[in-house]
Symmetry: C2
Subunit: 321 residues, 2 copies
Amino acid sequence: MPTITLPRIIYPFPSLINQFVTAAHEQNRQWVADFGFITTPEAMARFDRSRFAWLAARAFPHAGFHELCTIANFNTWLFMLDDQCDEAQLGKKSVYLEHVTDGFMNILKHNTPVDTVLGRSFTDIWERMQALGDTAWQARFIRSMEEYFTSCHWEAGNRAADIVPTVAEYVTMRPYTGALFADVEAIEIIEKVYLPAHILQHFIVQRLVLACNNIVCWANDIFSCAKEARQGDVHNLVLVLKHERNITLQEAVNETARMHNEEVKLFTALEKLLPSFGAETDKELERFMAVLRSWITANYDWSFHDTGRYQVKEVEVVINS
Amino acid sequence: MPTITLPRIIYPFPSLINQFVTAAHEQNRQWVADFGFITTPEAMARFDRSRFAWLAARAFPHAGFHELCTIANFNTWLFMLDDQCDEAQLGKKSVYLEHVTDGFMNILKHNTPVDTVLGRSFTDIWERMQALGDTAWQARFIRSMEEYFTSCHWEAGNRAADIVPTVAEYVTMRPYTGALFADVEAIEIIEKVYLPAHILQHFIVQRLVLACNNIVCWANDIFSCAKEARQGDVHNLVLVLKHERNITLQEAVNETARMHNEEVKLFTALEKLLPSFGAETDKELERFMAVLRSWITANYDWSFHDTGRYQVKEVEVVINS
């Protein structure tokens, strides 16, 4: 049976964790039970092992308890949507998926209720977020969610038509399919980092956000490539590289790791290119950058050490590679 | 003496040219004479051979005469600034360069005059542009120029400190060093294409603009790599690839061509992914896309067939490669 060796990944950034992590986990398990995501002890045991609150607590290490719960619930909601896409094969039914995500957009834009587990729980999250962020922030968050849903439709269309995207297409769409831009927008309301629009839109800041996003997503693609190869999903950088270049899975893993490491180098190089915007703004921007860095290590630490969701090992057994 | 073979580049887009091209050339030569850029018959003969108006006429094939002259003068101004960077070694003096570009930013932001050839001519262009574009457009154009100047400072800092950028850094900064984003903003006022902000900011539209920019700039880097290698400038994708990967110039040319062709493929793939925004907006967006396509062919046709500026041949003789 073929095996692949996962590359060793080391980041030049610290690993931090929020002091409220266990309390947030308690709140999160209550929240999924209250909204009807989890209905059996077995499902709750699996949920406990997923330790979603740890991802949020590592990514947002300085958030207050209420804010940490809000973002942990939001990220849990994204995982639940992802599971529905897999389990109910929603991820293949692109027309029905568009109907579902239109409902979520109506929640975001008009607070129109949607009477499903995902709909009611999303309204609950969005109500708390609206209390935390002003209308300008809300508009940015809504846009990032709209882009996320658009990328979900793209994936569903590919699955329905059995299309393997090109590497260039995949790299273009990948930053959206993980919804990480929504999490980056959330930095303002969760870690209380307030930056003027022209700083957030500065091209070096934007490229740093994209680099953070690429690093997180491509690392995920490395961790999950064996599982996704088994499941037949092609939306993974390792698998699109393997397909397009006609190389082995191990070679594709190595190429993904090379691209990932280049992106880490780019991140550290671009940090040094940031101009000064004045002492106060620079301090705030440094807090923003710190959350980007903690997202990078959070994703790795959570995937490797915390969660039972991916069961990542350094050597993976692959079937049908 | 080592030679390199330039790859054959073919685009799946039409080559068009504005009907006012020769009249715009006449206006442009009068304009450079009036503002004191050109003071000798020899310089005017060289200017004539550069045929800058042809680049603008190919990129903006449907612009009216006044608009075509405005953008031809603007692009000529950029070339004149570029020449000053080379000839007066302004491109190495990063502190002085910042002083110069601060003056241009003051023209853009406050219409503050700058009493130099570049300053007076820039004011003349900006006055015409302000009459053509509303304040929202002006803000976008100013931002694109600010990003362009920031990237010039980055290049100057590298030259002063003898730094060869990494490929990742170079690819990040290259879309700005060519000022092409400013030309893309100019589509609104030159070709009268009016798109709402959320369409211009749509992530697929943005990636299409970046792809257009990368295609134009990387093609330029291929055409000019022999000249820039001779001049010792490292700000060229071919040359940073050669340096970072320790490969031959021909191998680096081939790799640049591969990246360039991938970007063309991405452009055509992303065009198909654009969602519909309603019949009227779709029509306007198609006009916008048509200018992006004509920029791509304009750059190639002008570099190869029109201008004497680069003297591009299919086989280049290289010294000190």
